[in-house]
């Protein structure tokens, strides 16, 4: 004898529906004003008959999905095993200018568990050519502006902010709990300081560094290199920010996303260099 109902999931809750129920009749019954219909992790625009085990999410325009719903959608997009690793991870970012703000956004978008970010600076008008802030955030401390922006992307990512200038003494105290450390400073001596202070205190813990990303040289000159078991270096190693060779969003973004992808690969136990 055939069953006359099937079990599905609606917004992460089990639901029994009649055999032959379609996606759109389900929407009509539960949230007729839903603008987005997501079936098994992917948005759909055409009606179809539901099958046992289907997972449906209905979202109104402007509605913020709950934590479990967003997690389920992320897991479906990332594959569950990958997402579980991302969700458990903590990443530190030293400096949230052009590199750090873009790296933080990339990692928040994939649902990283926790970010620890530190920077002493405030948003200035010239920063807007490459840094992931908005014109109405000028004057706001970068870590606070970034926290606000990340919350608009994924409010369930934990963000710990530190408004201070990093040095050899406070780096180990702030970043002792990270799985991967990211160097995203502007100043060259700060880059070296972070590598020495972090690696000296946490030998073997991975750190992803950037060096050489200014101007509008070809994107493909920026590469990801492994320099030993724990140090990953991104950049062309040559092109410094200087008059006539400014830092600009496209190339800084290329480097930032090299760094973010290196972080992801390290978290997943993969070789960042490939």
């Amino acid at each position: 004898m055939m069953a006359d109902s099937i079990q599905i999931m609606l917004s992460e809750r089990p639901l029994s529906v009649a055999v032959g129920t379609t996606l759109f009749t389900l929407r009509e019954a539960h949230k007729p004003d839903a603008d987005v219909v997501v079936l098994n992790g992917a948005p759909v625009r055409e009606d179809r008959v539901l099958e046992a085990g289907d997972a449906v999410v209905l979202i109104r325009r402007g509605e913020i999905p709950g934590r479990d719903t967003l997690e389920a959608l992320m897991a479906a997009r990332h594959t569950p095993g990958v997402h579980a690793v991302i969700k458990r991870a903590t990443v530190g970012i030293a400096g949230v200018g052009g590199l750090g703000s873009a790296i933080a956004i990339a990692l928040a978008r994939i649902g990283l568990g926790k970010l620890i970010v530190a920077d002493f600076d405030v948003v200035e008008p010239s920063n807007l050519n490459r840094q992931q802030y908005f014109i109405d955030q000028i004057g706001q401390p970068k870590v606070e502006a970034l926290r606000d922006n990340l919350a608009r992307i994924n409010p369930y990512v934990e963000v710990e902010t530190h408004l201070l200038r990093l040095n050899r003494e406070n780096v180990p105290a702030l970043f002792g709990g990270v799985d991967v450390m990211v160097e995203a400073f502007d100043a060259a001596d700060q880059k070296a300081m972070l590598v020495e202070s972090f690696t000296g205190r946490f030998p073997g813990r991975p750190i992803v560094v950037a060096s050489g990303l200014a101007g509008h040289m070809p994107s493909n000159t920026i590469v990801t290199r492994k320099m030993g078991p724990s140090l990953v270096m991104v950049g062309d190693l040559m092109t410094a920010a200087a008059p006539g060779t400014g830092l600009m969003a496209p190339r800084v973004g290329v480097a930032a996303h090299h760094q973010a992808n290196a972080v992801l690969r390290l978290l997943l136990g993969e070789d960042p260099e490939g």
Binding site: G95, G97, G98, L99, G100, A184, F185, D186, A187, A188, D189, K191, A192, M193, V195, E196, T199, G200, P203, V209, A210, S211, G212, L213, A214, M227, G228, P229, L231, M233, G235, L237, M238, T239, A240, A241, L247, V252
Partner: protein, 92 residues
């Protein structure tokens, strides 16, 4: 004793090589290696590696056997060590 030196980025251009093997006196320090390299490879190379007070420039990254070293206490080198030199570049 012999050590291998790897040059990355601008230092490689100035030294016109990416790697070389160098003979050093037993017990030579990292500092003496860098002084020798700077004397050999010219003023521009030396300016990247050292400050005017002959201290290793804060932007230098030095790895010995793939491990970053603390420049304020440069280590004594051993036979077979691999030293990697990179000057960090401003921009972020």
């Amino acid at each position: 004793m012999r050590v291998t030196v790897q040059y990355m980025g601008q230092l490689g251009h100035l030294a016109e090589r990416s790697e070389e093997s160098r003979e050093l006196p037993e017990g030579a320090s990292l500092l003496s290696l860098l002084e020798g390299l700077s004397a050999q490879y010219g003023e521009a190379f030396g300016h990247i590696v050292f400050t005017g007070e002959n201290r290793i420039r804060p932007s230098m990254m030095v790895l010995v056997n793939d491990v970053p070293v603390e420049k304020t206490t440069p280590p004594v080198l051993r036979d077979g060590d691999q030293v990697t030199l990179l000057a960090a570049i401003a921009g972020g």
